[in-house]
């Protein structure tokens, strides 16, 4: 059981890290760009919110499998396929949780308005400098919310993991899958324990996120 929890936290942690690198700049761009391209990208990013996880999982399975577009590169990293592997699970989780990182970040950046950016420009801050020294600190609430939600959402995902990860102990057997498995086997006691743990975790996440947003809301003039 410890193995299951560790693997789940590893997956969620790694996914969140990758999402910070991808999702925060993406949210920044979407908040500031008003063109058609950003509208299309915005819609694509939001897709995992409405698609059934099985649909997403199905396409990921094809994309990550031995005949997928990435397959020719895989031998270089010593893999035959990304499906039913931990790296494959990470890729799937990143895509599945992307909107949970991007949306709050984007809202955080959008709430800043253009004024601080203009002030920064007249004080000789380059756009890159401005991102780190003005935009990121001012959108901190949104970004932290995005991190927490991404992490929590990855911990709780089931459908996509089942489709592309399967149930390989130590490789792809995460909490939600393990619970399903135990119920199937009639092992209700352990299922109870894990479920209650996840329930408590989910409640904490939502509570903390709410508190962060409240504090951020108070701080902004």
């Amino acid at each position: 059981m410890l193995e299951v929890v560790t693997l789940t936290l590893e997956l969620a942690g790694l996914t969140t890290l990758i999402l910070i690198v991808i999702g925060v700049p993406l949210g920044y761009w979407l908040a500031r760009d008003t063109g058609f391209v950003s509208a299309v990208v915005s819609a694509i990013v939001a897709l995992p919110l409405v698609l059934p996880p099985t649909v997403l999982g199905f396409y990921l399975l094809i994309a990550l499998g031995p005949n997928g577009p990435l397959a020719s590169l895989l031998p270089y990293v010593g893999l035959r396929t990304l499906a039913f592997s931990f790296p494959g699970l990470v890729i799937g989780s990143v895509i599945y949780s992307l909107p949970f990182m991007v949306q709050p970040s984007r809202n955080g950046f959008a709430a800043i308005g253009k004024e601080p950016f203009e002030a920064a420009a007249t004080l000789r801050a380059s756009p890159r400098d401005t991102f780190f020294s003005v935009a990121l600190p001012l959108a901190r609430g949104g970004v932290v919310t995005g991190m927490i939600l991404s992490f929590a959402h990855t911990v709780g995902e089931f459908g996509v993991v089942l489709m592309i990860g399967g149930n390989i102990p130590g490789e792809t057997r995460v909490l939600s899958i393990a619970i399903f498995d135990m119920v199937e086997q009639g092992n209700w006691g352990e299922a109870h324990m894990m479920s209650a743990g996840l329930l408590g975790f989910a409640f904490l996440v939502i509570l903390v996120t709410g508190l962060i947003e409240r504090r951020a809301g108070r701080r902004m003039p």
């Binding site: 004024e115 601080p116 002030a119 420009a121 007249t122 004080l123 400098d129 401005t130 003005v134």
Partner: protein, 363 residues
């Protein structure tokens, strides 16, 4: 040319700009006009925050912008004081100032930082967040921050407009010392004539996105063809040098060119310059120097022009004898006929009152 040279063209749905003007390499150039005349947009285009359809811009012979070039806003060495201060809410006052210093290059020294902090009275505020400051304090920090970014050009967009009367009074001396100590072009946008007269040496008059006139403040204020002189409060702006003080009558003698005027109160030290405002309504015209009168200041002038300025009224532009200094006088049409006033005639200007625009010393 040295100083600032700008020409911008911009066409939008609801308004357009086609403005060309220059500003000298030191001193305050007031950008004056009614709301919506494009003053702020011009300032934003100079800072590069707004892109005109066509723009030419140079500072001290360095081209910032022309047909093919557009210097990015963060590469333009401007100090911009926004109407709404725009301090960074996540940084305290010290953090806001240091933000500017860190990006200003090696020319900004710790000594200068201390000097500016002292100059704007910010010592006690350094650890305060912008949200806890009053409007006047915020604007002081904003001016200090702009100054610490080591600008070659100061742009001030109605820095007093968002303040109440109390904060205005508090901030005026800071603004004044800023205006007089910097040896760089300062563009000061305002729709308030009193503010402009107080600070500006040069003036650019704007209306509907066009420049209607530009030049030294004193000559524009006395130009009967410009809206400034048509204002009910119109008046000439004159610089006077303080001479001796008469403690018995509590009067200061001041020199305007070769002429001497007496003003009530002790205005300052000998040799200091004060800017005076002589309202057109306070100047009457006589053919001979009156002997028995309560009016202290009667100056010989020549009539430059006489223009009707309203029902039954005439605005006379007078040139002070032996100088190029102009005064305005508002008289009735009837008086013009009775005294047979015409251009070129030598007359006596009787000045009933002169008010000080600028109580601080002007260097």
């Amino acid at each position: 040319m040295t100083g600032l040279a700008a020409h911008f063209r911009l066409a939008r749905k609801d308004f357009s700009i086609d403005a060309r003007f220059e500003a000298p390499e030191t001193g305050v150039t007031g950008l004056f006009g009614p709301s919506g005349s494009g003053k702020t947009t011009i300032l934003r285009m100079i800072a590069g925050l707004e892109k005109p359809d066509k723009g030419w811009l140079s500072l001290n012979e360095r081209i910032w912008q022309d047909e093919g070039r557009f210097m990015k806003p963060h590469r333009r060495p401007v100090g911009y004081v926004f109407q709404d201060s725009r301090l960074f809410p996540h940084l305290d006052v010290a953090g806001n100032l240091d933000f500017a210093i860190r990006r200003a290059g090696p020319a900004e020294t710790p000594q200068h930082r201390d000097e500016v902090i002292g100059m704007f009275g910010l010592d006690r505020l350094m650890e305060h967040r912008p949200a806890t400051l009053s409007g006047g304090e915020r604007q002081r920090v904003a001016m200090a921050r702009a100054l610490l970014s080591h600008p070659r050009l100061m742009l001030m967009d109605e820095p007093l407009a968002s303040l109440d009367r109390q904060s205005r009074r508090e901030i005026l001396p800071y603004l004044e010392s800023l205006a007089h100590r910097l040896s760089l072009p300062i563009l000061y946008v305002s729709h308030d004539l009193a503010e402009i007269e107080r600070f500006a040496d040069h003036l650019v008059l704007m209306e509907n996105g066009r420049v209607t006139a530009a030049g030294p403040l004193a000559s524009l204020a006395a130009d009967p063809n410009l809206p400034l002189a048509r204002d009910a409060e119109a008046g000439a702006v004159v610089d006077a040098v303080i001479g001796s003080f008469d403690p018995v009558h509590d009067l200061s003698a001041c020199h305007i060119g070769p002429h001497l005027v007496l003003l009530p109160g002790r205005l300052g030290g000998k040799g200091e310059t004060r800017r005076l405002r002589v309202r057109a309504g306070d100047v009457s015209i006589a053919l001979q120097r009156a002997e028995n009168t309560s009016i202290l200041n009667i100056l010989p002038c020549e009539i430059v022009s006489l223009d009707e300025s309203g029902p039954g009224q005439v605005l006379a532009v007078l040139r002070l004898e032996g100088t190029e200094i102009h005064l305005l006088s508002r008289i009735t049409k009837r008086s013009r006929e009775a005294l047979a006033l015409v251009s070129g005639l030598g007359v006596q200007a009787q000045i009933k009152g002169m008010s000080l625009i600028d109580p601080e010393s002007k260097t």
